[in-house]
């Protein structure tokens, strides 16, 4: 079974798809594909068969998403918590993953036809080494594609992801790339495994469970959550349509809540900058009259914000490089001796915390994740907004939501600064 199922929709499905597409469509949908085992029990088949059928359903769903113009899909394939399952089942799932990623390497042309880029989000160091290498190869081979994106969360939990992002930022502080005061909501988002995707618009969980189970907790704060009672292997086109309809009904309220949140985020950043500037001025000791007048204060604020952005950009570039280079190491054929070297080095650098997984590979301790947006020159112009450079330019309507929201251009700083400054002046 391939990753994207071939075949067209039936006439009535196509008609419904077109009607749905007349409204606002989610650009990014996340799935918790729950219910494979219950399905197997229900059908009296082997558990592994349930998982296999679950994968086939994913291939089918990806096809529907393509038909519905949904260009980005994130799926929860394997949670770190799933390591708690029986050894037999875990091994079975690893084997399935090995097969499917190997299969993915075989169907290059199909993926190329649709322009599908695969990313794998999670702490891959927890997986067997050979699986890591297969995954790495699959990810690298689709690096250049930029029409559709499939993010597979493997060995993933959201808390792990957030903690990892904090660790990355702390690394940046250690290296002197950023200051601890530069840590912000925006920066944290950029350090997550999912940094190159916009937040999902719609999250679907099947099989009637009504919780997130540690999936994309940060990213789905303002997403539409739809819980459906159907088991994943029985998921149908109509279930997907129903979920999208839910999203459309919620669209306006969600948009409003997002705008409100964005506004608060901007204000918080401004507040943080002002605090830092005030502190700097205090330390530099020229607390004379000139430092307190409005204009110079604003100038200070602007230069500070510009410097902060510069630091953050430098750090994010370094981070990306680090992530990429680890990853390229994994794919290159001569990786093995190299890796062993790296492992011993990492061991020295980073003691194994007792909580880390039983998998021997966990000892590598290096966090990797596969958000590859390296080699920007190779990419199609459509993926340009995903890079960090354009963030400084004034917002364009074609830019994805997140990039636009986080653009901290001078004009908006100035405007916000004036707004916030006003009450202070009345004193």
């Amino acid at each position: 079974m391939s990753w994207i199922r071939e075949g067209e929709l039936s006439l009535i499905e196509r008609l419904s798809a077109n009607i749905l597409k007349a409204g606002p469509m989610p650009k990014h949908v996340a799935f918790i594909m729950d219910g494979n085992r219950r399905y197997a029990r229900k059908r009296h088949v082997e558990r592994q068969e349930g998982h296999t059928q679950g994968f086939d359903k994913l291939a089918e769903t990806l096809r529907w998403c393509l038909n519905l113009d949904i260009r980005e899909v994130t799926v929860y394939a394997f949670s770190i918590e799933n390591f708690k399952r029986s050894k037999e089942e875990v091994d079975g799932l690893m084997e399935l993953a090995r097969q499917k990623f190997a299969r993915l390497l075989e169907e290059q042309e199909n993926l190329e036809k649709h322009g599908v880029r695969i990313r794998v989000l999670g702490d891959l160091a927890l997986l067997p080494l050979d699986l890591q290498q297969v995954i790495a190869k699959a990810v690298v081979s689709t690096r250049g594609h930029n029409k559709c994106f499939l993010n597979v969360c493997f060995a993933y939990t959201s808390r792990h992801e957030i903690a990892n992002a904090v660790r990355e930022m702390a690394w940046g502080v250690e290296q002197g790339l950023i200051k601890s005061s530069d840590v912000s909501e925006f920066l944290l988002s950029e350090c997550l495994y999912s940094s190159s995707s916009p937040d999902p618009d719609l999250l679907i969980r099947t099989s009637g469970e009504v919780r997130l189970s540690d999936f994309l907790l940060w990213q789905t704060s303002y997403s539409c959550l739809v819980f459906q009672s159907v088991l994943w292997p029985e998921y149908s086109f109509w279930n997907l349509c129903e979920a999208i309809l839910q999203y459309q009904l919620n669209y306006l309220s969600l948009q409003k809540a997002r705008d409100l949140h964005r506004e608060q985020q901007t204000l918080q950043q401004l507040e943080a900058d002002r605090r830092c500037v005030a502190e700097l001025l205090m330390h530099s000791g020229n607390g004379k009259g000139n430092a307190t007048d409005k204009q110079s204060r604003q100038e200070h604020l602007l230069t500070y914000a510009a410097h902060r952005e510069e630091r953050v950009r430098g750090f994010l570039e370094a981070l990306q490089q680090r992530r990429d280079s680890y990853f390229t190491d994994l794919t290159s054929q001569s990786a093995k001796p190299d890796l062993n070297f790296k492992r011993s080095r990492c061991l020295k650098e980073r003691p194994v915390t007792p909580r880390r997984r039983k998998s021997p590979d966990a000892r590598k301790g290096c966090q990797i994740n596969l958000n590859l947006s390296s080699n920007p020159k190779k990419l199609h112009p459509r993926s340009q907004p995903k890079q960090r450079r354009p963030r400084m330019s004034p917002p364009k309507t074609t830019m994805p939501r997140r990039t636009r929201s986080n653009t901290f251009n001078r004009a908006s700083v100035q405007r916000q600064a004036q707004k916030a400054e006003a009450p202070a002046d009345t004193k």
């Binding site: 799933n82 702390a170 250690e174 840590v183 909501e185 189970s213 907790l217 704060s221 739809v226 949140h261």
Partner: protein, 279 residues
């Protein structure tokens, strides 16, 4: 041309869905009114029929409260599993403090220890004292509890910030705002990075546990087991992203005039949920 047709059909479809939504909420209110009517009629007829008992009614109301407390408590015990911490998530435009206070008091009465109240505009947080006053009032009205009866819990509470919480009937009530969500994670991250900056900590030692212990304030409040959402918006709207990892989400259409039956049916649903924790 076809695009226009599709859009037209889409609009009709959505109009129908909206109509359905409105009708449902209208029926709910009608049903509620009807229930009130029935009660009012019963209240009128029963004393008429038993004429002389009319004046006794006032005196018995205190006993009724006591009864109610016992009954609700027993209701709670009849459930197999009770959440320790309930998050009341209001995603509606209009907020009714009395209804929220009712819900909080019901939570306390069945024996839930922690209740968080959230809206994404931060109104509850801003009008915290109003909310807490209303809760105390409803507590007296519904359960007939004197706050003076529980002086110990209030005194024990000095470690908490009193302006955000009221500890009474052995439950901690907290008003939360979006500021307790992502921004609180950012603050924890900042704190850790600061420690790294000052060489008190190494980046490699940061893990889920360090972050979790920072995000759990001194009160050791557990993560919400149940998030009870009121309103038509299917989203958490920024409610405690870190803490809702394993929370069950159950929705009710509105918190306005919500009935105890509705509330209790949610608890029953929760008690039937099974969590496998990844297994």
């Amino acid at each position: 041309m076809m695009a226009l047709v599709y859009e037209f059909v889409w609009r009709i479809l959505h109009a129908l869905l909206h109509l359905q939504r409105v009708l449902i909420s209208w029926f709910r209110i009608r049903l509620w009114n009807w229930r009130l009517w029935k009660r009012a009629v019963a209240a009128l007829l029963v004393p008429l029929a038993l004429g002389f008992q009319n004046h006794k009614k006032l005196g018995s109301s205190a006993g009724k409260r006591g009864l109610r407390r016992v009954r609700w408590g027993a209701d709670g015990k009849s459930l197999e599993k009770l959440p320790l911490h309930v998050g009341l998530l209001i995603v509606e435009e209009e907020l009714h403090y009395t209804d929220i206070a009712n819900l909080v008091v019901w939570c306390m009465a069945v024996g839930i220890s922690y209740v968080s109240v959230y809206d994404n505009q931060g109104l509850f947080r801003r009008n915290n004292s109003r909310l807490m006053d209303e809760i105390l009032k409803q507590q007296q009205d519904l359960l007939g509890l004197d706050s003076a009866k529980y002086p110990v819990e209030f005194l024990n509470n000095k470690s908490e910030k009193l302006d955000h919480q009221v500890l009474s009937c052995q439950a901690v009530v907290k008003a939360l705002s979006p500021d307790d969500g992502r921004p609180s994670i950012v603050r924890a991250a900042q704190e850790l990075c600061k420690a790294v900056e000052q060489k008190e900590r190494r980046s490699k030692d940061i893990d889920v546990h360090t972050l979790d212990s920072l995000l759990r304030d001194s009160a050791h409040i557990p993560d919400p087991d149940l998030v009870l959402k009121f309103g038509a918006v299917e989203s958490t709207l920024g409610f405690l992203p870190w803490h809702i990892r394993l929370s069950e989400f159950i929705s009710l259409p509105s918190h306005t005039d919500v009935s105890h039956e509705d509330f209790f049916s949610v608890l029953k649903r929760y008690s039937a949920c099974e969590q496998r924790q990844g297994k």
